[in-house]
Amino acid sequence: MIEIKDLHKSYKMGSNSLHVLKGINFSVEDGELVAIMGSSGSGKSTLLNILGMLDEADEGEYTLDNVPIKNLSETKAAQYRNKFLGFVFQSFNLINYKSAMENVALPLYYQRVARKERTEKALQYLERVGLREWATHLPSELSGGQKQRVAIARAMAAEPKVLLADEPTGALDSTTSYEVMDLIQKINDEGNTILVVTHEEDIAHMCKRIVHLKDGVIVEDKKVKQVRAAEYVQ
């Protein structure tokens, strides 16, 4: 699904440049649930941004679903993002004047799906995250966990190849974190490929594979026995 070879990225900070990714090689198979771990500054967010086509690597190859991702125009990148990727952010990033349902329907809008079908699909995905009855509520009327579930529903609505979650539990307490992870695990169980960036050990262990990043290189890449979040959720 994802193929990365010798990926380099550096940022210019005034006169000196900061080498963030120093040759990353890794691949993700279909249906995997991968945790990318590392302390702050290890380059994990940069890696995720490059994977999410929000940023471009200086060097190296990136193939997503057999499509080489290289020198994309903004328009092309937007289309690929829409088609291939679903994003879940730490701070949810819901549009505050749109109801939960409209938020979920937004990626479908950019796919030019008709309004009726959009609504139907959005409600269906809200149902899956257990928030069907909250469809008409604004984000400000939802709790943090609910917001993140709406965000996950939104990411899933476009039926992406890969779900990219950047610290999805970073702004949540542990109970809600487990609820969200439970949801992510269930989505993964259905065969979806998911990448989770986190710095929390327990969250990482709820994935099937942990990739450790340190100072821009992968120091560890291991399969783990998945801890089911459901065990912590009543």
């Binding site: 941004n49 999410g52 929000l54 940023d55 903004e74 328009t75 937007a78 289309q79 993002r81 829409n82 088609k83 994003f87 952010f89 730490q90 701070s91 990033n93 819901l94 549009i95 505050n96 004047y97 749109k98 409209e102 937004l106 990626p107 809008y109 950019y110 796919q111 030019r112 309004r115 939104r154 476009a158």
Partner: protein
């Protein structure tokens, strides 16, 4: 372009407009006020325009009056201070020498300028009214509205020096009973019987005329008051395309040569150039129209710039939202178009509301000034002006929308989404 005709786009736009009420309100108020002022001003100036037109509708717009006065320069053996008397024969000479003249109507009068008015009697009723000796041509220069059933003086009346007269509304009221038809009736003017052939409707238009004036044929006046070929003054209408100031000069020059007056004598003939005054007023009023156009456009411009300004701030405020949209698959052109269409929609919406309110205001002003002496009538804004202003708003709205739209596109999604 495709985006413009997509219902989904409009849903997005209207949602964004509806959900940001304060922003929408603040944005629109600038353009609203701009177009409101534009409509109000140009309507008002048009109303003033119409008002002046109405004031002058009873008289030819390029007419002037000329009369004899005393000379101020000795000439050709005549001493200074000689009273000049216009003669009927002057008319022919003027026609020949000043080709711009369309019509000349010589008039004689008794009852104004210090002469005694005629004593008019009918049975036991009597009154003093000004009596004019007129040619039919006079009706071509100053429109006299004659009530149904009557007529103005005609050529036959002149030829035969008929004793007929046209009386004023007030004269009718004072000499005839209310249910009496004055047409065909007889009145005595200075003891001579005259048959009434018409009643003229008085229209206020300034000058010395009133609703009691009596018009009789020039030839009859001549016999009645023994005025010979004397003429009190000439009422002259020039052709529409003539320069009235030049015509006035030519007429005076001609009169000077007829009456042996020094070509340099400015005081021998008096004149009143209605056309010149009319042109001045019209110039003032078209100046007003121009001014209102400039002010209105400036107001619209200011309003539209306000929209751009607020949208620019709102784009900054919505950085994160736009970043999310980009991450979810909005292309740069979709984001750009959304902002432009938002700007355009706000501009047009505000503009249309402004036009409606402007029109209502004009209607109210019209209702308040109706029937008054104030020269103000039927304030309207020509449709091309309204459409023009709408087009201007569309163009400006799009142009001004480009600035925030470009800003929105230049935000990279990764920067927009960066935490904190």
């Amino acid at each position: 372009m495709k985006q413009l005709f997509d219902g989904n786009t409009w849903q997005e736009i209207f949602q964004s407009i509806r959900k940001n009420k304060l922003r929408t309100f603040l944005t629109m108020i600038g353009v609203f006020v701009g177009i409101y002022i534009y409509i109000g001003l140009s309507g008002a100036s048009k109303g003033l325009d119409n008002g002046f037109e109405r004031q002058f509708e009873t008289i030819a717009k390029n007419s002037l009056f000329a009369w004899g006065q005393r000379t101020s320069i000795p000439y050709a053996g005549f001493k200074t201070g000689r009273q000049i008397q216009l003669k009927l024969g002057d008319v022919e000479v003027l026609y020949n020498r000043v080709p711009e003249i369309e019509t000349i109507a010589p008039r004689n009068v008794k009852g104004i300028f210090g002469s005694n008015p005629g004593i008019i009697t009918r049975g036991l009723k009597s009154g003093n009214y000004a009596v004019y000796g007129d040619f039919p041509d006079f009706a071509d220069i100053a429109t006299k509205k004659i009530y149904d059933g009557g007529r103005f003086i005609n050529d036959e009346d002149i030829e035969q020096a008929r004793k007929v007269c046209v009386i004023g509304e007030r004269t009718q009221k004072e000499l005839f009973e209310e249910d009496e038809d004055p047409i065909g009736g007889y009145i005595r003017i200075d003891n001579i019987y005259f048959q009434v052939v018409g009643v003229h409707k008085f229209t206020p238009g300034g000058g010395f005329e009133s609703d009691s004036d009596i018009y009789i044929p020039f030839a009859t006046f001549k016999k009645l008051y023994n005025t010979g070929d004397n003429v009190s003054w000439l009422t002259i209408a020039a052709y529409d395309d003539a320069d009235v100031v030049k015509v006035e000069e030519d007429i005076k020059a001609t009169l000077r040569s007829i009456h042996n007056v020094s070509p340099k004598d400015e005081r021998a003939f008096g004149s009143f150039n209605l056309g010149e005054i009319f042109n001045k007023i019209m110039g003032f009023s078209s100046g007003m129209t121009f001014l209102s156009l400039i002010v209105g456009i400036a107001c619209i411009l200011a309003g539209v710039i306000g929209i751009g300004n607020i949208l620019l701030i709102s784009v900054k405020e919505r950085t994160k939202e736009l970043g999310v949209r980009r991450a979810l698959g909005a292309t740069p052109s979709e984001v750009r178009n959304q902002i432009i269409i938002e700007a355009l929609t706000l501009t047009l919406l505000a503009g249309i509301i402004g036009i409606i309110f402007g029109a209502l205001t004009l209607k109210i002003i019209d209702a308040l000034t109706k029937g008054g002496d104030f020269p103000y009538a039927n304030p309207t804004v020509p449709i091309p002006y309204v459409i023009g202003s709408l087009l201007l708003m569309v163009v400006l709205g799009v142009l001004i929308g480009l600035i925030p739209a470009q800003r929105a596109v230049s935000i990279r999604p990764i920067d927009a989404l960066r935490e904190e």
